[in-house]
């Protein structure tokens, strides 16, 4: 373990402790983003750049802003400063709970002690077990066996992908990755169930959607010039980088998940700078729905074909191409594009749903 790694680990622990002890939720979100950034540096030090790109885009970028948007929605950013938010009026008449303050205080104290004991026991147990595990990166480790050997030695020949990781997740173990894209799909569906404002069936009731649009812009200036100018410079760079990461998934670190997350973060930045009027032109409920559908459909059909031919020992007529060329490695390039589209749409729709209740 080199010195940089030790410093990073210390930072991680400091961040973790700081998150638990900060009173303000906003600062804990900022610390959390810093935690992810440190984590992504550590992934690079551990020689897994694919993970590092994803961690930086998702952990430090998108989740931070999602947390922030949620806090804004529930009026928790700075309660003392913004006294008269539109939602405060609504919440004023909420009835108090029926539990008396005294019981609550007593049970909270017991709860804290028990929770502390449980968490500490688990932490000690896990740390003790991890210390007992073989050290990362040793030749004699059990995970350095025939499985990884074949991925490394025959990977390029069998999958056509220079990036072993892409070959592994999208060809050798494609079923798992298909499951993972469905995790994102089901997550989007759940967020839609939770946050999408439906058309009220009762015509007499006023729609919530307009209210949401009003409260959306409450804390922020309509159009911020500094943000707009800066994003005019950064946005194209992010987009090009994201597309590059997706398209080169089989040649260099990255791929659908990381590139898609970068693209999604780019869209969110653009949305923040220019507002929904601009983004509605190219990212709206309809496009998101159809892009996700087509991408998942292509993935499902292409992989079903490949699974079916593979399992029945039929020849699959998918050319692998010359390793190293951009058009190579069979299905991996197509699957990367599909995953990238799904991830980008997911990230964008999470943010849009949190902010205004529809994509």
């Amino acid at each position: 373990m080199n010195i940089l790694m030790i410093i990073m680990s210390v930072f991680l622990i400091v961040c973790a402790v700081a998150v638990s002890f900060t009173r303000s939720i906003l600062s804990s979100i900022v610390i959390f983003s810093a935690y992810s950034l440190i984590m992504s540096v550590m992934w690079i030090l551990m020689e897994s750049p694919d993970l590092a790109i994803t961690e930086a885009a998702v952990g430090a970028g998108v989740t931070g802003i999602l947390f922030y948007a949620t806090l804004k929605k529930i009026n928790q950013i700075d309660i003392n400063f913004y006294k008269r938010g539109p939602l405060d009026e609504k919440n004023k008449n909420r009835p108090a709970g029926d539990i008396s303050a005294k019981t609550l205080k007593a049970s909270a104290a017991i709860y804290r002690v028990v929770a502390l004991v449980c968490v500490l026991t688990l932490a000690v147990l896990l740390v003790a077990t991890v210390l007992n595990l073989p050290e990362v990166g040793q030749i004699s480790n059990p995970d350095n066996n025939e499985v990884s050997e074949r991925y490394i030695e025959k990977g390029i020949e069998e999958t056509g992908a220079i990036n072993f990781v892409a070959g592994m997740i999208l060809d050798y173990r494609a079923f798992d990755t298909f499951g993972e894209s469905n995790v994102l799909f089901v997550a989007t569906i759940c967020v839609m169930v939770m946050l999408r404002i439906s058309k009220k069936r009762d015509p007499g009731e006023e729609t919530n959607a307009e209210e949401e649009e009003v409260s959306d812009r409450f804390y922020e200036p309509a159009n911020d010039t500094i943000l707009q100018v800066m994003s005019l410079i950064i946005f194209p760079v992010i987009m090009v980088f994201g597309i590059y990461v997706v398209l080169n998934g089989h040649l260099s670190p990255g791929g659908g998940f990381s590139g898609g997350a970068v693209l999604g973060a780019g869209f969110i930045l653009y949305l923040n700078a220019y507002g929904f009027e601009k983004t509605d032109r190219f990212m709206n409920a309809k496009t998101v729905k159809w892009i996700t559908f087509i991408a998942l459909m292509v993935y499902c059909l292409a992989k079903s074909y490949s699974f079916f031919t593979g399992a029945n020992h039929l020849e699959s007529h998918i050319p692998l191409g010359t390793p190293g060329a951009i058009l190579s490695s069979g299905l991996i390039l197509i699957l990367n594009i599909c995953v990238g589209m799904v991830v980008a749409c997911t990230m964008y729709s999470f943010y849009a749903l949190v902010r205004r209740g529809r994509i």
Partner: protein
Amino acid sequence: MEIIRNFPFFSIMICMFSAIVTSVLPAKAARYLTRAALIAVMVLSAVLLVNLRGSGTSFPYMMGHFPAPWGNEIRAGELEALMALFISTVALFSVMAGMPAVLKDIDEDKQNLYFILVDLMTASIISMIYTNDLFTGYVFIEINTIAGCGLIMIRQIGKSVVTAMRYMIISLVGSGLFLIGVTMLYTISGHLLMPNIRESIAELADNDKYSVTLTVVVGLITVGLAIKSGLFPFHLWIPDAYGYSNVASSSLLSSIVSKGYILLLIKIFYRVIGFDIIVKSGVNNILFVFGVTAMIMGSLAAIREKNIRRMIAYSSVAQIGYIYMGMGLGTKAGTVAALFHIISHGATKSLLFLSSAEFTEGSHSKEFSELYGTGRKYRGSALCYSIGAFSMVGFPLLSGFISKYMFATAAVGHNLKMILALGALALSTILNTIYFLKSVIVIYSDDPKKRRPQSLETYLSGAGGMMSSKMQYFCSIGALTVINFLLGIKAQTIIDIISEGLEVFG
């Protein structure tokens, strides 16, 4: 036979495919597609089961062009086919009988989302049943968790949203523990494929290496899956989750979602760790203790409950306890009893939830005080409910009797465990009788306050598609009742399939 080998893969992909297509369909088409997909899976699993019956073999199926330790693999045998058949049948009947509630509780522009969730949930459980790879198992646990959360909160009332949040947090703790366990297992064994892990573990055990780590791994995986399936101290999300969600969701969650995790745990015990190692380590004794406690505590809580839906939910806590008690016996007979009870409880509990829907919706309340006399108004569903209740209590000719009998015979021969298991069985049966008979008596008797049951507005109005929703409702609960009788009368066939399947399961 060659094409039949593809059936497990087809079942998974049909569900996935229909989920993806549903995302662009209107609600009505989504209803048809989901039912068609579930029927297709049912037929495929039944054909597979008939073909494997008596062969005493199981076969691996390569997912892709690369053989097992490198690529993904699924594996099917009699037990897996039976469980897939059970899952798809219960899912189909839950969706069909719960359709009026789905149409009523869910806004129309969100209805197709509900069917996506049902499809993905079924796909994930079927994949968990068939998978031969630990990490594939984890991926589908994730899908199952998120889909379960969506199924609870799609009824957008305050309580169901809060309880969905609670379910998500508790369930994610379980997933986290499971994932940590799998990672550690990979680090010490170097494999994710189940039979290969077992080989490495046997080697490690011979050399006496990593024995503490292995115990921690088994502990983490077991606790993780126990939390997710709602074993006793982790059951607090169950009553609210089943009590306040849509009735179709309650039925799906209680009868198949929690069972998927238990099946995966049994698979890990048999195929990954080796059941003899589990018994030697004593993990099963811990499961036994918690199972027995759950049997008593769940029933006690159910007696105190005044809401019929929550009462049935608390009864699930007790029944999950039965299953873990069977696994905890540490013998093959115990596991067979547990597996039989998974099926029996799934068929009965979905029947109870679905048949109670008509009279709770009809009287606009789930409180017992409002349910007096409803049984005479809604005759069909009340009859089905009573049969379900008798089955839960353990009435002969019904499936519940067979599972109680099997637990009792499996317990014979273990000294201390026999006393505990038989005692808990007896006590729990008495408690079951108290609360289930109370509910049956309430729905058939007059209101002591002489109030007349008010409005006759029924749960079963509204379009149901090809069949009228009334017919669909009665066909489904009728079919579940018949299944209950079949499981009670023809139990030996199912038991044979389970024990033959278990032979080749490890």
